[in-house]
């Protein structure tokens, strides 16, 4: 092979590598930032790309793998060169050696993250992947500068300002594997579903009963296949929360059991505390939709017909990932379906307490902003409600003094909340609406320091929002949630629990919006049926 041809290939490979590196670094930084791990790079928040970055990052990851193969092939066909031992040559050679290992490790770690779960090795893989990504960026700069200093300017210019003629010069023997690679890359989206782990759902005899109580002490649960999903927590210490999932089908209904460890059950939800000026909401981030302290434990299940990473591609990162739509206040992103609707089951330990229901919700394509609404949630909404549910004990949230909507009929009702131990699994911070009366200053004789729940329960959900029966209980450091739903419902905001449906789970450890997640779903497979 002529040297000119060889160099034209170096130029083409460089163009690909530079584009991919920029794409991977930028999308990767956005992933890290949205997950609260942006390190120093958080200052670039405003300049990083927004939107469905998980999908982009992964598809660039595939492109890298393909590029690596082409690179190896390219090297095999390199013309012999006279080895030079000038300091500059040696430095550049070592640098390039280093780069090989660096990029190889990045790709292997990336693959490990995707196939082993982002939480692999309790977040260490992710941490290493992130620091190698930073190193790759530093390498790019050091290598580029070294080459600019030591290499003939013409060679450097050829890479920085590539000429169109290289496309011809590289020859068809080069373009053939590249085209094959491109096909492979484009096809990766179709290959992924076949690589999805299955959630095997056993059959439950019709005469066996499962009581929805969160105890899961029925014998059927002992024998049902068990799956563990390692979900990754948000935040600098990217620890994992493993969630075990089981399913049982009985005729036209499917039971699920989810459990996850939590040493601190949180059954407190934005309590009110009386101060000398009046009542205040105990909160640290409610007004940014990012309460992380005074919040109840929650759990979510997402169901979709498409397997794309990050909740069927519903996770759009950045403060305003959708042009023409409102921003989100956390700056991290929001959910909106990119194709068909996603069914979301959102269990809330305090607000759903006592009803044996969870909040049946959905992610649809982004809804328009409703004028004056306090929080724009893009495609996320609870399913339509006819009546029932819960409400907050204030008319409008604020950092300052709020007037409670209601006070207990009997002030003694508040006694048990005063001496409460933190994380008491028995004390649920809510009051029945019917045991309270509209606020009056005459009745507000509570001493400064009094704490009062802010969740007011009314009746069970009537309507689509109440389609899933569920109850959880906390025992010895583990939450167990049992849920049951008909395979089909009447609601257009639900998906039928059919063979092949994809499922994700998320744990909210006393968090309003920061939840653990995983990228690759489980795929429902009903055993012993067609």
């Amino acid at each position: 092979m002529s040297v000119a041809k060889y160099y034209s290939r170096v130029v083409v490979l460089h163009c690909c590598a530079i584009l991919l590196l920029l794409g991977s670094v930028l999308s990767g930084l956005r992933l890290a930032l949205s997950a609260g791990r942006g390190d120093f790079f958080s200052v670039f928040n405003a300049y990083l790309p927004q939107g469905g970055m998980h999908g982009l990052h992964l598809s660039l990851g595939f492109a890298w793998c393909v590029l690596a193969l082409i690179f190896v092939w390219h090297h095999w066909h390199a013309p012999a060169r006279v080895a030079s031992s000038t300091l500059a040559e040696t430095w550049n050679r070592y640098l390039i050696h280093f780069a090989r290992y660096l990029f190889l490790s990045l790709l292997i770690l990336g693959g490990a993250l995707y196939f082993g779960g982002s939480a692999a090795l309790d977040g260490w893989v992710l941490l290493l992947h992130r620091y190698l990504a930073y190193s790759a960026f530093v390498y790019l700069i050091v290598h580029a500068f070294s080459q600019m200093i030591y290499s003939p300017w013409l060679q450097v210019r050829a890479i920085l300002l590539p000429k169109l003629k290289v496309v011809r010069q590289v020859g068809w023997k080069f373009w053939l594997p590249v085209s094959l690679a491109a096909v492979l890359w484009l096809g990766s989206a179709w290959i992924m579903p076949y690589l999805t782990p299955q959630l095997r759902i056993a059959n439950l005899a019709l005469d066996q009963e499962i009581v929805i109580d969160g105890l899961a002490n029925e014998s059927a649960w002992q024998s049902a296949p068990l799956h563990t999903v390692k979900t990754l927590n948000i935040g600098a210490n990217a620890a994992e929360t493993p969630v075990t999932v089981q399913g049982l089908r009985q005729g036209e209904v499917v039971y699920f059991r989810f459990s996850w460890p939590d040493t601190t059950p949180s059954l407190q939800h934005l309590p009110l505390v009386k101060t000398a000026q009046g009542w205040r909401i105990e909160q640290t981030g409610l007004l940014r939709n990012d309460e992380t302290q005074f919040y109840e434990d929650k759990f979510a299940v997402m169901l979709a017909r498409a397997p794309d990473a990050a909740g069927a591609g519903s996770m759009l990162l950045g403060s305003q990932p959708l042009a023409g739509y409102a921003a989100n206040r956390t700056g991290r992103g929001y959910h909106a379906a990119q194709g068909a609707l996603l069914d979301v089951w959102h269990w809330k330990s305090v607000r759903n307490h006592g009803t044996k229901q969870l909040d049946d919700s959905h992610f649809a394509a982004a809804y328009p902003e409703v004028p004056g609404e306090i929080r724009y949630t893009a495609g996320y909404k609870s399913d339509p409600l006819q009546s029932g549910g819960y409400s907050e004990n204030w008319a409008w949230p604020s950092n300052g003094i709020v007037t409670p909507k209601r006070l207990p009929r009997d002030p003694a009702q508040l006694a048990r909340f005063q001496a409460a131990k933190p994380n008491d699994p028995q004390l649920v911070w809510g009051m029945s609406w019917y045991e309270t009366l509209p606020y009056s200053s005459a009745a507000d004789q509570y001493p400064v320091g009094t704490r009062m729940p802010s969740v007011l329960w009314t009746t069970m959900f009537e309507g689509d929002r109440g389609d899933v029966r569920a109850m959880a209980s906390w025992h010895k450091g583990v939450w167990t949630l049992e849920a049951v739903r008909g395979i089909k419902t009447e609601s257009p905001f639900d998906l039928a629990l059919n063979e092949g449906l994809f499922m994700w789970v998320a744990v909210f450890d006393h968090q309003q919006t920061q939840h653990s997640y995983h990228l690759r779903p489980l795929q429902l497979h009903f055993e012993g049926q067609s």
Binding site: P371, G372, S382, S391, P438
Partner: protein, 192 residues
């Protein structure tokens, strides 16, 4: 240059979104910023009309209170066939006149000309939010609106010699004639 001015005008027109139309006011009728709350009334800056805000708390402005349709001046409609509570939370049978009289007595939001809105006025509140679970209204400004029928002032004699008034349903967005003896919800309006 002309094109540029046109584009700028178009852009600024586009930015005038629906929230520029509504202004929250407190119980004395003083304007509040969009981000503030709670609020007692909502002013339509396009028409000058002032609308009663509803609350999910029992009391005079309780969202789920119902009223039969009754016009005392012309002695039309049916008295006391709904169910609402007054400011002292006493629940009693009531009609549209009761809410009007009480709101005027209170000078709610600083005005005493509260009345039942015409169908045209009430229909001007309709907004398709794109989600059937939401009432068809700018619910950020008009919280606790039900996907239920609300009375309008439009009235006509019915076939059986009684009267019926037009209701507007905030779930479907459609209007329909309903016998005045029926119970429906009510949101009052005041002209500027």
């Amino acid at each position: 240059m002309k094109h540029l001015i046109f584009c700028l005008a178009l852009l600024s027109g586009m930015q005038a979104n629906a929230s520029d139309r509504w202004q929250k006011t407190d119980a004395q009728g003083r304007a509040l910023p969009v981000s503030a709350g709670p609020w007692s009334c909502i002013r339509d800056l396009n028409t000058g009309l002032l609308w009663e805000n509803k609350s999910d708390n029992e009391g005079l402005h309780f969202n789920a209170a119902t009223y039969s349709w009754f016009d005392a001046t012309h002695r039309l409609g049916v008295e006391k066939a709904g169910s609402c509570s007054d400011a002292s939370m006493k629940v009693s049978p009531c009609d549209t006149r009761d809410l009007m009289v009480l709101a005027n007595q209170q000078a709610w939001c600083g005005v005493s000309n509260w009345r039942v809105p015409s169908a045209k006025e009430l229909t001007s509140l309709l907004l398709d939010t794109g989600f059937v679970g939401n009432p068809r209204i700018a619910s950020g400004f008009f919280p606790h609106t039900g996907r239920f029928p609300y009375w309008t002032a439009d009235v006509r004699p019915s076939n059986n010699g009684k009267t019926e008034a037009l209701i507007l349903h905030f779930g479907s967005g459609s209007t329909q004639w309903l016998g005045t003896q029926h119970a429906a919800r009510l949101r009052l309006v005041a002209s500027p």
